[in-house]
């Protein structure tokens, strides 16, 4: 019997205890992986190449202030800008005003929207149909699935900001790399119905010629309007999205404190198990030493045992996290939050590293104790 085999054998000797410990660690690691995935999606992931080349311009005062729509042509003239499309928040009620039925509605320019959002896929005939129908709308494919929409269906949106009810016909269904829970209609439709909507745009979505030019374009846009009555703030699409996440509260501190609680709890569980199992085997340790195993070997045996248990929990935790996040990102209604989330190999590697370290640390004290054990005392131990 090799030492590795000895370690794995003894790790699962008391099967019930090992299984319970593994399960306990599994759930902790599941939570940890979940939190790290959310962290990555918010703060590390830079999005696709197309998303990294996009910017959003809004009014400097706040998102609720509108910009003059002529800014669009001025932005277009800035070097490095490939395409510009306005996005006007409509904020209408669909069916009822329940949060689960909520989706974003934007008024835009059908001729240019898909030139900015180059990673949105729509069949050319549907796009052409939308461009021809002023009361048409294109919808996100995930959203269409959720509400059971088909081409030709009508959506009624009762305005909360604009005193108008839109009667829109679905002309196209587009697929975005990450679910957007958005629909886009022709802004002219609202402008015709509500006079004060005329000549205004909420934000402008800009496509730059390369991700490297994004910050240059942002500065150039803001410089153009710096001294005008309506100054702008331009940032990358990612940064714009982050400002919404930050508005939920101090998300970073929230995630970090949960992670710390989880790691510490895992440490306690593992330490508990190792303390129990090493104490039970006091006499065995003495026998091992009598046979000639050195202190160091005994120490390593027990440390290895704890790491094996913790890593088993870690592997299971990662597998469950993978399943859970894949499930959530496809669940109806969760798309807005979990839509683009993926568990990446680095995240899994960190989770496993945490599991291994926790196992190792948890066993240091009881294993050291066992290694130091006096043989005669140990043999006399009754347990």
């Amino acid at each position: 019997m090799t030492l590795t085999r000895f370690v794995t054998k003894s790790a699962f000797r008391n099967r019930r205890r090992s299984i319970l410990t593994v399960l306990s660690i599994t759930f902790s690691l599941l939570l940890l992986t979940l939190m790290m995935t959310i962290w990555r999606a918010f703060y590390i992931d830079t999005g696709s190449a197309q998303s990294a080349s996009r910017l959003v311009t809004r009014h400097k005062v706040s998102l609720t202030q509108l910009l003059p729509s002529f800014y669009r042509e001025k932005i277009r003239a800035i070097p490095g800008v490939v395409a510009v499309a306005p996005n006007n928040w409509f904020g209408g009620k669909y069916k009822d005003f329940k949060p689960e039925n909520f989706f974003a509605q934007f008024g835009t320019d059908p001729d240019e929207l898909f030139k900015v959002f180059t990673d949105f896929k729509i069949p050319p005939d549907q796009l052409a149909a939308w461009q021809r129908d002023r009361a048409g709308v294109v919808v996100d494919s995930e959203l269409a699935k959720k509400h059971g929409w088909k081409i030709g269906d009508h959506i009624m949106l009762e305005g909360t900001i604009y005193p108008v009810t839109l009667d829109l016909t679905i002309r196209g269904i587009f697929t975005a790399p990450e679910p957007t829970t958005s629909v886009y209609y022709n802004q002219k439709y609202v402008e015709e119905a509500v006079s004060f909507a005329n000549g205004h745009a909420g934000t402008f979505a800009i496509l730059a010629d390369s991700p490297e030019n994004v910050s240059k374009v942002a500065t150039a846009v803001d410089d153009t309007f710096r001294n005008s009555p309506e100054p702008t703030k331009t940032e990358s699409e990612k940064a714009f999205g982050l400002s919404f996440i930050n508005s939920i509260g101090n998300v970073k501190a929230f995630i970090l404190s949960i992670c710390m609680a989880v790691v510490f709890a895992t440490l306690l569980v593992s330490a508990n198990t190792m303390a129990m199992s090493i104490r039970e085997r006091t006499r065995e340790v003495a026998v091992l030493k009598t046979l000639g195993f050195t202190r160091q070997t005994v120490l390593r045996l027990y440390l290895g045992e704890a790491v094996v248990v913790a890593l088993t929990g870690g592997v299971l935790g990662c597998v469950f996290a993978l399943l859970l996040i894949t499930g959530l990102s496809h669940a109806p209604g969760m798309g807005m939050f979990f839509g683009g989330m993926k568990v990446t190999p680095p995240t899994l590697a960190v989770a496993m590293l945490v599991a291994g370290t926790v196992g190792l640390v948890s066993a240091i004290f009881p294993a050291y104790h066992a290694a130091k054990l006096d043989i005669v005392e140990g043999l006399r131990y009754l347990g």
């Binding site: 306990s24 759930f27 930050n246 508990n272 303390a275």
Partner: protein, 387 residues
């Protein structure tokens, strides 16, 4: 006959290390759950106490927030003359046409920029909010570029002291006072003169909302219906308290994530508790057999071990609640989905939260303790004695 609880207490004391570690594990889970529940309780409190039951909020029909409304100023005189509105000392109806807009301000601690609500009001607006007290400086003057800031704004943002100037919209605004609205969501607002604010945000000729002060609760209800039913106005009346109560939904994301986190952690802790209890049963198998021989029945052994597990988790619950005490009253902000700006609230450890936490821990103890206790009760006496 039941086994006395002191037996369980002594056993827990005997195996101190194990007890403390398991209880700490449960405590961490309880702490996390209590933290999230206290956040939600604080949020509820901030919104539940906001608003005055005598104030009727008027917005355009279909509007769900003051931010997304807007009606013509010509409707305001009609509103003012509706019956049931309280009069001030000079016999004028107490009604205020207001504009609520959002500006972005940098946080004091440098953690980024946040949306903040600015409310422009008529002088009567202050009379409508009698519970709001000035704690420093003076109220804003009509026709001046002056603002008074809520207590939370003063604490969380730079340049929000009396005498400072703030830069938003079309220029500088002088901070002339700080008010305390008693922890309600008004504490997260800036107040100024309605005409000045409307001009700066290019919104002259209308109001985003109007507030009417009713003489009594019945008049408030009648006034609310009167506004909504008047076909000329195309407006909708709401009690101010109703409007704020609906905003607690802003905590939805925390609630969802919090529940998921608490459940996952609880499952993990239950397994750990189960482990400890199985070990306790294994160590004491001879003792259990002796108890059986003395005449204690299987059910009483079962009960005894379940009680021990529950005691263990109760210890965890107490430690968990104590761990959260230093954070009680800590303030934090949350993005309000209705006003589109930050509302500040404080962590609020209520009795209800504490009781829920204890119940939560007991459930963990029961889940972790039942199987081992069952195992203990079913043990064969002779085998156990020989072990």
């Amino acid at each position: 006959m039941a086994i006395p609880i002191s037996y369980n207490v002594r056993n827990l004391k005997l195996r101190k290390g194990l007890t403390v570690m398991t209880a700490l594990g449960i405590a961490l889970t309880v702490t996390t759950a209590v933290f999230l529940m206290a956040l939600l309780a604080g949020l509820d409190k901030a919104f539940a106490t906001s608003g005055d039951p005598l104030n009727v909020l008027v917005m355009r029909k279909g509007s769900t927030a003051e931010l997304s409304g807007g009606f013509d100023a010509s409707l305001f005189p009609t509103l003012k003359t509706l019956p049931g509105i309280a009069k001030d000392n000079e016999g004028q109806p107490i009604a205020s046409g207001e504009w609520v807009v959002v500006v972005v301000l940098p946080r004091k601690d440098g953690t980024g920029e946040v949306n903040v609500s600015v409310r422009g009001m008529m002088p009567a607006g202050l009379m409508l909010r009698k519970n709001t007290k000035l704690i420093e400086g003076r109220w804003f003057a009509t026709g001046q570029r002056e603002v008074v800031v809520g207590k939370s704004i003063h604490n969380r943002f730079s340049g929000a002291n009396v005498g400072d100037t703030m830069d938003f919209a079309k220029g500088k605004w002088k901070v002339v006072g700080i008010f305390d609205a008693g922890g309600t969501s008004y504490d997260s607002e800036l107040w100024g003169d309605v005409n000045q604010i409307a001009a700066d945000f290019d919104r002259q000729g209308g109001y985003s909302s109007a507030y009417l002060r009713a003489t009594d609760p019945i008049a408030a209800d009648a006034l609310k219906n009167r506004v909504s039913d008047d076909q000329r106005l195309k407006l909708e009346g709401k009690l101010e308290t109703e409007y704020y109560a609906a905003q607690t939904s802003s905590g939805g994301a925390i609630k969802f994530i919090g529940t998921v986190v608490a459940i996952i952690m609880a499952i993990g802790s239950s397994f750990a508790a189960m482990n400890t209890m199985y070990a306790a049963v294994a160590y004491r198998s001879r003792e259990i057999a002796t108890l059986r021989i003395i005449g204690f029945s299987r059910p009483s052994i079962l009960t005894s071990f379940v009680i021990e597990a529950v005691l263990l988790s109760l210890l965890g619950a107490i430690v968990g609640i104590i761990l959260i005490l230093p954070f009680n009253g800590m303030t934090t902000g949350i993005g309000n989905q209705v006003t589109f700006s930050e509302t500040v609230f404080s962590l609020h450890l209520t009795l209800k939260v504490a009781i829920t936490a204890v119940a939560f821990a007991v459930v963990m103890g029961l889940a972790g303790g039942f199987a081992p206790a069952w195992h203990a009760a079913r043990q064969d006496i002779l085998t156990s004695l020989r072990a």
